[in-house]
Symmetry: C2
Subunit: 257 residues, 2 copies
């Protein structure tokens, strides 16, 4: 047992949180998370991170739209007809966008009102009831802060919360989980000005810790088996306040408008 403890002291554990019910609008998500943690008898420790899929946050917050309530614009109708899409979903995509980054070959890459650049403005019809679509939370940082406050109060230890979604990216195939909303931690770890093992000053090394945590959570969040929450234990989370918007590169610094 001693050897085991020594071995794993600096290891990181990614724990799937199982047994959550189907989340419905108005549900008290923090309360459901607390119950699931207790059922699973997870011993939370200071610095643990809850990574929560955007989808269940959106559901709890009622960010689910009935498609038959949507009247598509002419632009949405035209695009949908050209690319065999549902015009009502396209209409939602356009409404959620603050600007269109690319709209070609049946793919819409948009900047959302929050500033995230992603496919379909984060509008999604998977893992929601037929005839509905989910939108991103109004303000994922606010959603994260609310969960973090309630979880911290319940468990009495320092916890961080990340709201994540799966995004594609240019040049690489496949989706990875990234952080949208954050509370209880700084999202970036800045090594600039520090020195490597050769005594050389690091100039360009800022690590997106919150995105690494989000991606790690993807390892236990099945797309099919309804594990929308992971708890990451043992990561050295730097204390301090932070927000998901810190991960958004300002447009004037970006080379790919």
């Amino acid at each position: 047992m001693l050897v085991f403890a020594a071995l794993t002291s600096s290891s990181i554990q990614v724990v799937p949180l199982a047994g959550l019910p189907e989340i419905m609008p108005g549900d008290d998500l923090a309360h459901l998370l607390v119950e699931a943690v207790q059922r699973q008898r997870i011993a939370l420790q200071s610095g643990d991170v809850f990574v929560v899929a955007q989808k269940i946050v959106s559901k709890a917050e009622g960010r689910i739209v009935r498609l038959d309530s949507i009247q598509p614009s002419e632009r949405a109708e035209r695009w949908a007809a050209e690319h065999q899409k549902d015009a009502r979903v396209i209409e939602l995509v356009l409404r959620e966008a603050s600007s269109i980054v690319r709209m070609e070959r049946g793919v819409i890459i948009a900047k959302t009102r929050h500033g995230f650049v992603c496919a379909n403005s984060g509008v999604d019809v998977s893992n929601v009831s037929n005839g509905t679509a989910s939108l991103l939370p109004e303000n994922a940082d606010r959603s994260a802060a609310k969960l973090q406050r309630e979880l911290t109060r319940e468990f009495g230890v320092r916890l961080a919360v990340i709201i994540c979604d799966t995004f594609g990216r240019p040049w690489r195939e496949g989706l990875v989980n990234v952080a949208l909303g954050i509370a209880g931690m700084k999202p970036l770890v800045d090594y600039r000005g520090q020195h490597d093992a050769h005594g050389k000053e690091l100039h360009a090394t800022v690590i997106a810790l919150a995105d690494e945590l989000a991606a790690a959570s993807g390892l236990v969040m099945g797309k099919l088996d309804r594990i929308p929450v992971a708890i990451i234990q043992g990561a050295a989370i730097p204390e301090g306040a932070g927000s998901g918007t810190e991960l958004i590169r300002p447009a004037e610094k970006d080379l790919f408008p």
Copy 2:
């Protein structure tokens, strides 16, 4: 103990591999990894993944260039002077590029000869001796396959190997680890055609599992404290052959040339 085992049965463990020496050209990297695993008494199991930082692979393979051996071109000299860079490093960046994606505001985003799109063609002067720069491995899939073969033979269980590097990305701040070379696993998990909990067919969901594993490894790979290898245990790695090039989106499918 029973409760603990039950809790962690589906958890994923990210274990830092400590105690590796400074890697030198010609070193037998597989042998050094085996020794480190044995010293740390890690009980490897079928499906475990070694995630290895590109830097130590490049060092072992001698992909380290003395800068005083490089004669910069006029183009490199001009760019370096404009942006206060080392012209010899810029010359290496240009030589390693198959094409330049962006070259502005002091930043070079290039497609490497392997097809990766990243800053500075993967040329890096951090964590190498002063007066030298490291290049990406000639063929990271080949490097991964060699390590995977030797580690599998030594430990007698099914293992996967990922060679990773930290890349930036458009629209988001900070770097994350991504997979360059892969052996012993498929890099992408394709959910298309499968059905979500609502019975709805998934259309766009291909998860970049190898990049999630690479990003998770970043949680224990300090930039300063010389942990260039993580072992990820408990991830459900789909069996089969795969390569890092599967993660490269073909240029004709990409919207951001």
